[in-house]
Symmetry: C2
Subunit: 499 residues, 2 copies
């Protein structure tokens, strides 16, 4: 019989094999979204299908089960121990779903995404409705297979933000909503009206990129362990811990898309680049949850990128790259404009204050769907009603309404709350950080290393060695607390809008 | 028991699995040579190792053997039949080498490449010598495992150019050498001295690329099934038949490197893009041999790119992109300069006339090594002696001599002749093509589609369905015949150098 240390070694090798295929698939995904010539896509998709199936097979194999059983309570290596738990979670989640249902679901997902694309283009929800009904039905089924304590939606939430429940969200979200709604109302009554027209001027792509790269270097994004490319839908992707790539999209009439987008994606990338390298090759070598990940991207995008001290100390840097137009734009007007609050229809174009309201609408609707309280066919109307109620705007068609996000088409229910959670976590982290770091001074200095180091020590390095709520507790000493975000937004926008 | 048609299907699926991993590895290789950030390389190399091992295992598995035995004489599908033969060849070649020797050899290869790199940088052959001795010893061993009829070197040659033997090369090469040496002597005595200085002017990378892309479009390189990137060492790579990428290196002081390099690589790429798509997923979906491949790249690079009719009809196109400097450069002087013949030390920088002489030196040395007629330690001296004898130039150090090529460091013995064979094939194909196509007229027209179509019909479409000498015979009606190349070079350079 093999000793535990021999087993440890064999298990690590098995994980490395899974990881090798994961790494290959991830590179293919990056390529599919950035470089591949269009005719090459069809055959490449088959390759992804084949390799993904191999990964799945290894994750649910009897061999995997044998490793888990042998090592779960016996290994003394902490990394292996946590890897076993991670594998066990994946193993159980997958084994609880009958194989034929899983296969049908995977096919449904890819078909649904294509149909959603068409439905969105045509602003015709009825095309998508039958697919969405099936997707919801499968998710209800799966949630029941996986099990839950209080609310069936918790089983789905657990896939993205383990530990967070409907109970928590239903306490926190209404509180946030109430504060933001009040704030929004005051803002709309304010006499301060930022002029965003002054932000639009022809700003060549290469100059936008050069400015962004300068900021990325100050943040500490390591270009020897990453790269920046163009794409349609920006993303961060971790091929391995020393190859963490980001992408962006340039609008030469509006620098905000690329500049804030790059800072956002670099926030994700810093997290991944600074995970302890000893975790490479294990399932622990990634950010611990969608929410914690989003806390990192939003931290940099909003708390740095939309911060007054940042622009006071970096407006000159910006002007070095920006078109002549900005020489005439006053810093104060500029700062106000990049922080304009204006209820709008599209989530990904929302300002930082109204953004959480978009999330809450989605959360409430998907929670109700999974709980069988509403029907898919009623979604467009319910969506529009909530938009009016929460934001005071109404989508002219479903394209700008219920059809705008890809998440449901991909079967991702329980994902949306992560965006708002990340924002709240970020505010909590920032408050804690300010106890040991003079954040404003660091930003002024132009070298953001102390901020990055604090985030690495407290969050990044652990990868999946810690669960999201454990990180939050270890760092801040408390659980999810929306007050920090509310206070941050209130104080920031009071000043901007002279409330 | 499975019927033959069921077996056909299962075999195809098995090949598709192998191909999926091959495709993933190939994309990784493209990325390693073009995009990867440097810190990501180490972990990615492990992934390549793992996936390559999986491919190897599937190629030599008992399951593969069972497919071969069942289908070899039974299948009625021609593609499957040829695939079986291809798999049988790979199976036998690999199975004949004991597993531990193969593993040691793979490790030796990668170690040797690193040592060669260092030896080359330091111009110190003694560092590389012990590795090269081992590589030669392994290749002798493997050649004996594989077997041969007349000369042990044939067993190695067979890996790159099946059907071609030492006997053939020893008939053909001396003849080529004699003619080229005589021609070279006359050229060196000629009063015509092309002035290559007039080719060097600052030519921005983007403009070089734009001109090259225009030529590629005229050649029919399909950018929807490929792309062009920067790299240090240019190459063509087939990820799948609809994703055939090329790369180049730009020298802004000398457009020749990129422009002729791109045409060369596009010649390889056209071959692969035009292989019958029914072969996708089988081991037949690639060029049939190194020699036939090189015939395609050299056809376009030399017979089109360095041709007088091409420059007469495209010098204006060139000048649209080229710097102002060329407005003053006379077409005739330009044409002479891009065809300057000048013996030099480095193979990859050689002109088209002296290039085959570089190949012959390598062929003679490696043939003698594998036959045990010379020793590795004597290589530097033998190399230099031959350089003086064949080309009249002597390398100042081994860096510009025996250490210049990576091939031997990678264990590639028997590869070099392909370069010269490809050149001879190309001349034979061109002669045949001229019977049905007015090549000069096509070039003048600016749309090279008739040439590409001829190559596709006669060569490209078959992939590995035909062996190299069968293609040659089917197209030209004869075997390898150096006269076409000799005649082409003689007539071209007589005119240029007024001999």
């Amino acid at each position: 019989m093999a000793t535990i240390s021999e087993m440890d070694k064999e298990f690590k090798d098995y994980l490395k094999e899974i990881n090798a295929m994961r790494e290959a698939v991830t590179l293919i995904q990056w390529d599919l979204r950035t470089k591949i010539p269009k005719k090459g896509v069809e055959q490449r998709s088959e390759v992804v299908g084949y390799l993904s199936q191999k990964i799945h097979q290894m994750q649910v194999s009897d061999k995997m089960k044998a490793f888990i059983d042998a090592l779960k309570d016996n290994t003394e290596d902490e990394i292996i121990q946590k890897s076993v738990l991670e594998c066990l979670d994946t193993y159980e989640k997958n084994r609880k779903i009958p194989e034929d249902e899983y296969r049908e679901y995977v096919m449904l997902q890819s078909k649904s995404e294509a149909v959603w694309q068409e439905a969105r283009n045509k602003a015709d929800f009825s095309l998508f409705q039958p697919y969405l009904e099936k997707l919801v039905a499968y998710n209800i089924k799966f949630a029941n297979y996986w099990g839950y304590k209080e609310n069936i939606y918790d089983a789905l939430l657990n896939n993205y933000e383990p530990g967070v429940t409907v109970k928590t969200l239903d306490e926190v979200f209404p509180k946030v909503r109430k504060s933001l709604s009040e704030l929004l109302q005051k803002i709309q009554q304010s006499s301060v009206k930022p002029n965003t027209d002054l932000l639009t001027a022809h700003f060549p792509k290469q100059a936008q990129e050069a400015f962004s790269v300068e900021i990325l270097n100050r943040m500490g994004y390591d270009f020897d362990a990453g790269r920046l490319d163009d794409t349609i839908h920006p993303f961060e992707i971790t091929i391995n811990l020393n190859d963490v790539r980001i992408t962006t999209r340039y609008d030469e009439q509006d620098f905000r898309m690329a500049v804030f987008g790059i800072i956002h994606e670099a926030g994700h990338a810093l997290y991944e680049q600074n995970i302890d390298k000893r975790l490479e090759g294990t399932p622990l070598a990634s950010g611990t949850s969608m929410g914690i990940h989003e806390s990192q991207s939003l931290f940099w995008e909003n708390f740095l990128g939309r911060n007054n001290v940042f622009w006071e100390s970096h407006y000159d840097v910006f002007k070095k790259y920006a078109p002549q137009h900005f020489a005439q734009v006053d810093l104060h007007d500029f700062y106000q404009a990049v922080n304009e609050v204006k209820p709008s229809l599209i989530r990904i174009e929302a300002d930082e204050l109204t953004y959480p309201l978009h999330i809450m609408i989605r959360y409430e609707l998907e929670k109700a769907l999974i709980n069988g309280e509403i029907e898919v066919k009623d979604l467009p109307q319910l969506w529009n009603e909530k938009m009016v109620e929460y934001l005071g705007v109404e989508p002219p068609t479903d394209k700008e309404g219920v059809l705008q996000d890809i998440h449901w088409a991909g079967g991702d229910f329980g994902y949306f709350p992560s965006y708002a959670l990340g924002y709240m976590y970020a505010a909590q982290f920032k408050d804690k950080m300010s106890e040991s770091i003079q954040i404003d001074e660091v930003i002024k200095s132009g070298d953001f290393a102390p901020i990055r180091k604090w985030l690495t020590e407290n969050i990044h390095q652990y990868g999946k060695m810690k669960k999201p709520l454990d990180i939050l507790k270890d760092v801040t000493g408390e659980g999810l607390n929306p007050d920090y975000l509310i206070n941050y937004l209130t104080s920031k926008y009071r000043e901007i809008y002279k409330l």
